[in-house]
Amino acid sequence: MQQFPCPFCGERDEREFHFLAEAGKERPNTTVSIDDETWARYLYKQRNEKGEVQEIWMHLTCREVFLLKRHSVTMAVSESVSLRQGC
């Protein structure tokens, strides 16, 4: 059972967290024409690195969506970063 630091709450165990996506995915502007490949890349392609990864997670209890930097082999967590400003 791993422990992740919620940028707001602090350390909680992994059962309180939900993996959302790899970081850096930007939704294409769908009001203009985009090709199938561009859309499929956004929807499905994963970097899936073995090693240091940057991911977007949700802390299910306080609903914080944040950036988590961790290692996908050792499971060591290096940092969690809030995505929120002005709060």
Partner: protein, 417 residues
């Protein structure tokens, strides 16, 4: 020289202190060039090499692996073989595999112990029985054996399950596939390795691919711990590490790697003669010939390349088992481990060209690679030998994602795969 295996040879070798057994496979030095290189000496890679040699006469083949043959997911799974799928595309693929398994021991002259003891997919409510009917009909229409059986028939096949009416998930019936079953996982890898080796395939173990040799946008070989090895075509069958390999060719795949845990209990006298899956918890189990309960369930919640188990997933899977068969709560767990599985968005595999000339992919099997080894090997061999898809592998091409043509079994049936 490889020995032929039979009751007679076993008797003879018993008399002469086993001295006559030859090597199951050689340990050759890699050549400078092959017609085909297959990266990954797991079940899929070895089977591919075997069918390349046997079906297509392509014998100048190397299978290379960074570790030992059969040392990845092939030797870490729960050994279930079945073709209880919903879509025609999936049925064609997985039933081809079951058919190949049915004759595999004799074909390879190696007992892979395919035990067609049947698989029960339990239905716990009236709506699940309706979904079971939809599923069973689909299988039958796709030419796969299936039956929707009632609770009495489930009890007859697996009396150790929970038939109490106040169970959390009472059993209403099940989808039954009689031809499904289990096999000895290591034997599948070893059997294919031995047969491929006998046909001239070089199996090169402990030889990590560090780079792909890319020339004019095409893949021309591999750079390994033992030097460069070139080939006309390269096939990758590296399961959970597919993204890492793809990265060497500067491509990204629609794959995420997760740890999938499996569990084995202390050996017991026979108590369970079939395989049972409960969709309520995603837990399934069978009993190995050695007597251990072999238990599996869903993937861990955290994307991972770490081949370690994790307590929350264990709690989910094993509490699910206790609910399925409360009498087994007292059974002791002997060992649990994890394999790294390559999960695609639709949980169906990817077979086909990678987008880089000369490099082909066999990946994305996720939690279901073992059952597909013979078919995956046969279809991948066809692709590598002819450059063309076999009609069965065509739908599983990488291009399905851009076309929105997913083959999403989970979406269709609500039953985990």
């Amino acid at each position: 020289m490889p020995s032929h295996y039979s009751a007679y040879s076993l008797f003879r070798e018993g008399l002469r202190q086993q001295s006559g057994w030859g090597k199951a496979w050689r340990s050759p030095k890699p050549k400078k060039h092959y017609e085909v290189i297959i990266i990954g000496a797991g079940g899929h890679g070895l089977a591919t090499a075997y069918y390349l040699a046997k079906n297509h006469g392509v014998r100048n083949v190397a299978v290379i692996d960074k570790g030992w043959l059969g040392g990845g997911n092939t030797g870490r799974n729960t050994t279930t073989i079945r073709s209880n799928y919903y879509y025609p595309e999936s049925c064609a693929l997985y039933d081809l595999s079951v058919q190949l398994y049915e004759n595999l021991s004799r074909e390879l002259n190696y007992n892979v112990m395919f035990s067609q003891r049947g698989v029960l997919t339990l239905c716990h409510s009236d709506p699940e029985m309706e979904m079971g009917a939809r599923f069973t009909n689909a299988m039958k229409l796709n030419g796969v054996d299936a039956e929707l059986i009632d609770v009495a028939a489930v009890k007859q096949r697996a009396p150790i399950l929970n038939f109490q009416t106040d169970a959390r998930y009472p059993i209403h019936g099940a989808i039954w596939q009689a031809r499904a079953g289990t096999a000895r996982h290591d034997a599948v890898a070893w059997g294919y390795a031995r047969a491929a080796d006998a046909l001239g395939v070089d199996i090169i173990q402990q030889c990590e691919v560090r780079e792909l040799i890319l020339e004019n946008g095409a893949c021309a070989g591999v750079r390994t711990a033992h030097g460069d090895i070139r080939a006309n075509k390269i096939g990758a069958a590296v399961a959970g590490h597919s993204s890492v390999l793809a990265n060497l060719a500067n491509i990204t795949l629609p794959i995420h790697s997760y740890a999938l845990q499996a569990f084995v209990s202390e050996p017991l006298k026979p108590i369970m003669n079939t395989v049972a899956l409960s969709p309520a918890s995603g837990t399934y189990f069978s009993q190995s010939d050695k007597g251990g309960l072999v238990i599996g369930g869903g993937i861990d919640r955290v994307p991972s390349y770490g081949q370690r188990g994790n307590l929350p997933a264990q709690e989910t899977v094993l509490s699910g088992l206790i609910e399925m068969a409360p009498a087994l709560a007292k059974v002791k767990l002997l060992r649990h481990w994890a394999g790294i599985v390559d999960v695609t968005p639709d949980s169906s595999p990817i077979l086909g060209p990678s987008g880089v000339d000369g490099l082909y992919l066999n990946c994305g099997w996720g939690t279901g690679g073992f059952k597909a080894i013979p078919a995956g090997g046969l279809l991948f061999a066809h692709l590598l030998a002819t450059g063309q898809h076999h009609v069965i592998s065509q739908p599983f091409d990488l291009n399905r994602f851009a076309q929105g043509r997913l083959i999403d079994e989970g979406a269709a049936s609500g039953i985990a795969h």
